[in-house]
Each structure stands twice: as structure tokens, then as C-alpha cells.
């Protein structure tokens, strides 16, 4: 009943939302609610409607009916400095991802003292990279001018309080994803024996819907201590779509005639697949008077992201496999909250996020790097309403391709990001 009434509205909201970028390492997104973000994401052992993402068992402790929605404003930056032999030390490039806002929406309802059900819409994985001058001089345009992955999760969930201090929960993870990748095709111009752009390709993977699941447990062995564990299963998504080839004139009619024999004009069917990784989180939190401290370790099974095959229908000559070979990574989180009076709470935290990307896979498509995250936030409650606000400041380590990038496109990426989240809650 719940699903039939709420799901279409949630879906409409989600699909209307602005696409998103990657702000945990790889292309995972942990910005799922401003309260959790105030704890630097250390939220597996806590409880609010966004627990539908963080730990489904958490909603078992929510009373009545709860509604929560919000978004995170993300302003990423990326600077690249080339290295010899290519694209050369003289080359610098700048990211142009813009400001983006992944949404969150969560709804829970207590059906009995022990049973709580809910549904959430989150963007657990997403990516957007885009580079300035990508239609003209951008030196990485033959690898990726613009890349975008959006994985929406519609997450109906159920939690059962097995005992007063112990709950289990789980959810069905209905994953709806799209993928876009724009790049140019370059060839050697036989007249100059140097490179020339012959086509711009816009590749679009239509929405793929696949299913996963998530499970969690939350224990409160004492009034002070909470222990949480949650697991979100990997989801393998196969995309079909089209690659639109727009031929670019080389300025030489003879060469254009030859290109016309080999490069298609118009749409070509394309297929690809991504296995979005599983995530295991283990966390603990301790409340003492007005203080709460929370710690968490996330285990991200990124090794499932081993390659990105691009198969062009009937054109094996254009098909390729982008090797990624990510390795598993961990994220360490620590958060602190101090309640001020009945209504206010101040929060702060820190996390360290290891990149899963090997140096050879660090590319204009996804220039991933280790990062430190510093979180600040506050919450305010009044009657039925609550508002949470959080700010994340990310400090990325410089990331060099160490001269081993698979496309021989080498240099150093210097990324940064600031994130600002607001979540509004209403309890009935």
C-alpha cells in the first residue's frame, strides 16, 4: 500500500533532480542527510529517517510517521597539470562540473511497537566530470570530455525490533541508473602525420533498472552505547543505448571523404555494464549527557569495478574496454555532537577516504584521489519540524598518474570540493 501510493511521486522527484557527482572515493556518494553528514557520515549506529540509507535497522527506533527530505549542494573543482611525454608539462586543464544537487527523500511509518516500514530515494553512486574547453582545445578530449553516471536507489525498507535494545532491518534496493560519456574521436591526418578530430561522440546508456538489497542490525546494549552494522549488496547494471557520432570536418575534403568510409554518422547502438560495489559499514556511538561521539569504518568492495566495456553494435572496430581494476578501499569516520538545550545540536567530524583507483586508472573520466573530509553542522528542532544543516570541506591529496596512465595521458590532478546540505524533517 505504501509503495503504490508513495513510490511514483518519489520517482518523479528523483528523476527531476539535477544529476550528481562523486564525493566519496570512486563514484560513491555518502551525502545522505545533513544530520549524518554533521557526524562526517558516522551514522550506521544511529537512527533517523535517512537510516534507510545508512542502516535499515535504524528506522525500527523511529516513532509514528517521519518524513525527511533535502539535498546537498556540491561545488567540485579539478585542476590538471600535464607531464611529459603526453600531454606535456605545458598543459593545464580545469574542471567544469558546475554546482550539483543530489536529493534525499525518506519516509517511515511505525506499524506496531516493533515494526517500522519506510521508503527512501537516494543516489548511492554517481559521477560527473566535465572539463573546460572540451569542445575545442581540451587535451583529454579523446578520452573523456564529459562523463556522468547517476544511480538512483528506490529503497523500500522494513525494520523489526527483535528486542527493546536490538533491531534488524532490510530493504529492496531498486537501482535505476543512467550513464553518459562524451568524447572525441581523433585519427592521424595522413597529410600532416599529426592528430586531428574527426568526430564527436555522445554516448548515452538508457535507464537500466536492476535489483539489490541491503541489511542491517542495530544494538543498544546500554542507554549510552549503540552498535550498528549494515551491508548494501553490489548491483550489476547492463546498459543499452546509443552513441551519436557527429563528424567534424578536418578542413581537408579528401580526408573527410576517407573518414566517411570508416566513422559512422548518426546513432550506433551501444552496450556497456557497470557493477556498482557492495558496501559494509561497522559503527559505534556513545551518548553521555549532551554529548554523542560516533565512529565508523566502511569497507567498499570496489574490486568489482574492474572494467567498463563499450560495445558498439556491428562495429567491433569501434568497441573497446576501459580497464579500471579498482581495489577495495576503506573509509574511516569520526563524528561528535553536542546538544544545546532542547532544540539545538552542534556537530563536527572528520573522515579519511582511501581512493580505490590504481594510478593507471586515474583519468579525465574519474581523477580519483585520497581525501580528508572535515564536517561541521547543526540541527534545530521545534514541534513536528526539524532542520539539519551540514557543511563538508574536502581536502584531496594531489594525485599523479605516475607516468602509467592506460591512455598515456599523464599528469597530476588537484581536486577540491565544498558541500552544503540541508535536510528538513517532519514527524507526525
Amino acid at each position: 500500500m505504501l509503495r503504490t501510493r508513495v513510490a511514483p511521486a518519489l520517482l518523479a522527484l528523483a528523476l527531476a533532480a539535477v544529476p550528481t557527482t562523486s564525493h566519496a572515493s570512486g563514484f560513491a556518494i555518502f551525502e545522505q542527510g545533513a544530520r549524518g553528514m554533521g557526524f562526517a557520515g558516522a551514522f550506521t549506529s544511529q537512527s533517523d529517517p535517512t537510516s534507510i540509507f545508512h542502516n535499515a535497522a535504524g528506522i525500527a527506533f523511529l516513532k509514528g510517521t517521519q518524513l525527511s527530505f533535502g539535498g546537498t549542494l556540491i561545488a567540485p573543482t579539478s585542476d590538471f597539470t600535464g607531464a611529459n611525454p603526453f600531454p606535456g608539462e605545458a598543459v593545464t586543464e580545469t574542471g567544469d562540473a558546475g554546482v550539483i544537487v543530489p536529493p534525499t527523500f525518506d519516509f517511515t511509518h511505525q506499524f506496531s511497537e516493533r515494526l517500522v516500514m519506510g521508503v527512501g530515494v537516494h543516489v548511492p553512486y554517481g559521477l560527473r566530470t566535465r572539463w573546460k574547453n572540451r569542445e575545442t582545445t581540451y587535451s583529454g578530449r579523446f578520452i573523456s570530455k564529459r562523463a556522468q553516471v547517476q544511480a538512483f536507489s528506490l529503497n523500500p525498507s522494513v525494520a523489526w525490533k527483535v528486542a527493546d535494545r536490538f533491531a534488524i532491518g532490510g530493504g529492496l534496493d531498486i537501482r535505476m541508473s543512467t550513464l553518459e560519456l562524451d568524447r572525441n574521436v581523433g585519427i592521424i591526418n595522413p597529410f600532416t602525420l599529426s592528430a586531428v578530430d574527426v568526430a564527436a561522440v555522445e554516448l548515452k546508456g538508457d535507464r537500466a533498472t536492476d535489483f539489490g538489497f541491503n541489511l542491517g542490525v542495530l544494538a543498544r546494549p546500554s542507554d549510552h552505547l549503540s552498535l550498528g552494522a549494515s551491508y548494501r549488496h553490489k548491483v550489476k547494471q547492463a546498459f543499452t543505448g546509443t552513441a551519436d557520432f557527429n563528424r567534424l570536418s578536418t578542413g581537408n575534403s579528401q580526408l573527410d571523404a576517407l573518414v566517411a568510409l570508416t566513422i559512422p554518422a548518426g546513432p550506433v547502438g551501444v552496450a556497456t555494464e557497470i557493477e556498482f560495489p557492495s558496501l559494509l559499514s561497522l559503527g559505534a556511538s556513545y551518548e553521555w549527557n549532551e554529548w554523542t561521539v560516533a565512529g565508523q569504518v566502511d569497507f567498499h568492495n570496489w574490486s568489482s569495478f574492474d572494467q567498463l566495456p563499450l560495445e558498439f553494435e556491428g562495429r567491433p572496430d569501434l568497441s573497446s574496454v576501459v580497464e579500471e581494476n579498482y581495489s577495495n578501499s576503506r573509509i574511516y569516520r569520526l563524528g561528535l555532537e553536542r546538544k544545546v538545550g532542547e532544540r539545538w545540536a552542534l556537530r563536527g567530524g572528520y573522515y579519511y577516504d582511501e581512493t580505490p583507483a590504481p594510478a593507471e586508472s586515474v583519468s579525465p573520466l574519474l581523477p580519483d584521489a585520497d581525501r580528508h573530509g572535515i564536517a561541521l553542522g547543526f540541527g534545530f528542532k521545534s514541534g513536528h519540524w526539524s532542520v539539519d544543516v551540514a557543511n563538508w570541506y574536502l581536502i584531496f591529496k594531489q594525485r599523479s598518474t605516475e607516468g602509467v596512465n592506460r591512455d598515456n595521458y599523464n599528469g597530476t590532478y588537484d581536486n577540491g570540493a565544498e558541500l552544503f546540505a540541508v535536510t528538513v524533517g517532519y514527524g507526525f
Binding site: S139, R141, I188, P190, S194, A195, N252, L258
Partner: protein, 425 residues
């Protein structure tokens, strides 16, 4: 600037810890070799490509100011080949009927790049037969052999890549006969040892390179042994099967290599069966390499490379594996930044219009291989060459359509003249 840094670094290293790997004093660098070392490109020795020769690039990266080459003015000696037309027929021909001229003849000492196009290992060592290589007159200038002049410069550092012409002639002439188009392997070993022995006496640090497999170069890999539709550039199928070209012994086996020298003959219908509009007469053996000839070339190349390995090992001279590098080129393993590079003719990006020698980009990639070996084996720290200017330059040249052949007879004969047989001395 960079030299000064190197010198400062060397002084500091020497002053502090004597055992530290000494940096190579590149100020006096000499290169010995053949066309591949001279920077020969598109059938020509010409300054616009000589400046991209790998020794010139190594010298530039090492900050050597006074690295002298036997510069030749446009349009080169012989005149550089150009892509005259791409469609409907691809035409490659000399871009001029004139010749360039040497313009550094007055240099009062040997050149730093002493490489002579066409030189075999014997030519590097001995004056006998020098007359058969016309460029020797303005590169060596009667001042002695390459080896003699190299030693006379008292260099601190020498690169030597010699021996390519001891096997190349077999591919250019479609004829693999040891003693005629291939230097006998015993003689190769003997003279190679002599070259290295004399160069070693100079006391210079030496880095050498071995020989590529000339059966992978576009001169012999471009034209398939089957009839091709000139418009679609795909094999003509009869009954679903490609139709073999005709050779002296009938239809060509599918593993026969057809050289660019066949191109002007095919354009006249020679080698193409009558049923498909050809003359029905066979292609001559001199434009074909059958499986046996390929095997002979590879066998001699392997023997010569063993000789290079043994001789250099005895002198602790590092050897650049040019054979593996060219194999990598052929396999397409040298793509950069999303642009595919391989040994393909015209579109592969690494070879020039003669199908035998690298173009500027190919030479720059080779220079980086040399620099990698110099750095790793001699404890140097030369920066690699920035490939960006070689990969992206907008000097689009187009000419009006003109009737003609793919690889013109002039282009072919120009190559045969520049690279005479090894028995011609």
C-alpha cells in the same frame, strides 16, 4: 641552464659521496649510425626532419647547445616524399624535382651526428665502398670513417645504432640472399665487434641499439596479397573469397608480403587477374617477400641481434631493444591520449611516407626510449621529450587531385638508390 644544473649536480655528487652514480657529461655526445640515426624521413635527409632525429632530441633534452648535424636544406637529398593525394587514389611522390644542399659543410670539426643513410656496419668501420653512399661525401667529408671521426671528437658519450642496412635491403628488394641483400652473419659479428672495440677505446660511455624486424614495417605490410577494390579499399570477393594477386609462381600465398614497390605495377593492372580487369601478368619477385624470404630475414636479424648482445655485454654496454620497440609499434601499443598510434602506413602516425623510416613523432617516441635507457643504465636524469607538439600541429597541406599511382615509381627508385645492396662495395 640545464647543463649548468647537471654540472652543479655532478660537482655536488662528486664532492659528497664519490660512489654515487656519476651523471653523464653530455656536452660531448656523438651518434654513430645509419638513416635511422640521421633522421632520414619520407625518403629524404632534410633539416626539417633532421632536427627530430633521436640524437638531436637527446641532445636537446640534455641541454647540449653545440650539437652539430650535417644539415640539408629543403627539399632534401633526395627530395622529400609527400602525400600528393589521398582519394580517390593515394599518391605519394617526391615533392620536387630539385634537390636540397648541405649547409653546414664548413664546420671545422666532425659532426656530432655522424650517421650516414645507407651505411652498413662495414661502412661505419671501413672506407672501402664509401662511394656507393652519396650522402657520405657531405657527412663524412673525406675526414675518415664514422668510427674514426667519432673517436677524434673525444666524446664522453656515444650512441651507436648500426646494422639496419645489413638486413633492410632484403625487404626493399623483395629478395633475401645472405651475401647479396643481407650481410653474412659472420661478417656482421666481426665488423660489429670492431666498431664497438674502436669506439670503446675512446673511453666514452656507450649505449647501443639492436635491429628491428624489417618484416613489420609498412613498406612490406601495407599492400595485402589480394585484389583490393580501389574505391572501398576492401578486398574484392569472388564466391565469398578474396582473390590472390599473381606472382612469378602463380597466385600468391596468403602469407606473402607485397612491398610498396608493387603499387605502381598494380595500378597498371600487373599482378591482377584478367577476370578482374588486370593484365594477368605476374608481379616480379623483387616486390614480393614469400614465407621463406621472411624466415631468412628474421633468422639473420636474430643472429645479428645475438652478435650485438654478446659484443655489448662483453663491454658492459647497455643495448636498447629496438626490435621489441618496433614490435610494440606494430602491435599498436604506443597510443597516446586516446589517439591510436601503430605501424600503419599514413594513418598509424609513427612512420613517414617512405614506409621504412619513422616520421617526426616516431622519432620522438624512439628518443624517449633512448632517454629511458640512458637514465636507467647510466644514472642520468634527462627529461623525456614532450610529444604534444609532435602529435598536434596544424600544418594542413592539401593539393588538388592529380592522376597517378599509390607509391610512385620515382618514390620507390629513390629508396632503392639511397639504400644500395650490401654487396655493392
Amino acid at each position: 641552464m640545464r647543463i649548468r644544473n647537471l654540472i652543479v649536480a655532478a660537482v655536488l655528487a662528486a664532492a659528497s659521496v664519490p660512489a654515487v652514480a656519476q651523471s653523464v657529461p653530455f656536452a660531448s655526445y656523438v651518434s654513430v649510425g645509419d638513416s635511422l640515426t640521421a633522421g632520414y624521413s619520407s625518403g629524404s635527409l632534410v633539416e626539417s626532419h633532421q632536427k627530430s632525429s633521436y640524437p638531436a632530441l637527446i641532445a636537446r633534452q640534455a641541454g647540449i647547445a653545440d650539437f652539430q648535424l650535417p644539415w640539408v636544406t629543403e627539399p632534401g637529398i633526395p627530395a622529400e616524399l609527400a602525400l600528393v593525394q589521398l582519394v580517390p587514389t593515394t599518391v605519394i611522390a617526391p615533392k620536387s624535382s630539385l634537390l636540397g644542399a648541405p649547409r653546414n659543410l664548413a664546420l671545422a670539426r666532425p659532426y656530432n651526428n655522424l650517421a650516414v643513410p645507407g651505411a652498413t656496419v662495414i661502412d661505419a668501420y671501413s672506407d672501402a665502398g664509401a662511394g656507393r653512399l652519396p650522402p657520405a661525401s657531405f657527412i663524412l667529408r673525406g675526414l675518415g670513417t664514422q668510427v674514426q671521426q667519432a673517436v677524434a671528437l673525444r666524446p664522453a658519450f656515444i650512441t651507436v645504432w648500426i646494422g639496419n642496412n645489413d638486413v633492410l635491403g632484403a625487404a626493399l628488394r623483395g629478395t633475401a640472399i645472405e651475401g647479396v641483400t643481407l650481410t653474412p652473419r659472420a661478417a656482421f659479428r666481426q665488423y660489429y665487434a670492431a666498431v664497438i672495440e674502436d669506439l670503446s677505446r675512446s673511453g666514452a660511455r656507450i649505449v647501443a641499439a639492436n635491429l628491428p624486424d624489417v618484416t613489420t614495417i609498412p613498406f612490406v605490410t601495407t599492400i595485402p596479397p589480394v585484389v583490393v577494390n580501389p574505391t572501398t579499399r576492401q578486398p574484392v570477393l569472388v564466391g565469398g573469397q578474396p582473390v590472390p594477386l599473381l606472382g612469378p609462381n602463380g597466385p600468391l600465398a596468403s602469407n606473402t608480403l607485397v612491398t610498396l614497390g608493387a603499387s605502381s605495377l598494380l595500378a597498371q593492372g600487373i599482378g591482377i587477374p584478367r577476370e578482374l580487369g588486370g593484365t594477368g601478368s605476374p608481379l616480379p619477385g623483387e616486390v614480393l617477400l614469400d614465407a621463406n624470404e621472411v624466415a631468412v630475414i628474421r633468422d639473420v636479424t636474430a643472429a645479428d641481434n645475438n652478435a650485438i648482445r654478446d659484443v655489448c655485454a662483453a663491454k658492459s654496454i647497455p643495448v636498447l631493444d629496438a626490435n621489441a620497440i618496433l614490435r610494440d609499434f606494430a602491435a599498436g601499443n604506443r597510443s597516446v591520449g586516446g589517439i591510436d598510434l601503430d605501424s600503419g602506413f599514413l594513418t598509424g602516425g609513427l612512420f613517414s611516407y617512405d614506409g621504412v623510416h619513422p616520421g617526426d613523432l616516431g622519432y620522438a617516441v624512439l628518443a624517449n626510449e633512448w632517454i629511458g635507457l640512458i637514465n636507467s643504465s647510466l644514472g642520468a636524469n634527462l627529461p623525456v621529450v614532450d610529444l604534444n607538439p609532435f602529435l598536434f600541429r596544424n600544418t594542413a597541406s592539401t593539393r588538388g587531385p592529380r592522376g597517378g599511382f599509390e607509391f610512385t615509381r620515382e618514390a620507390w627508385e629513390q629508396l632503392l638508390t639511397a639504400f644500395p645492396t650490401v654487396d655493392g662495395r
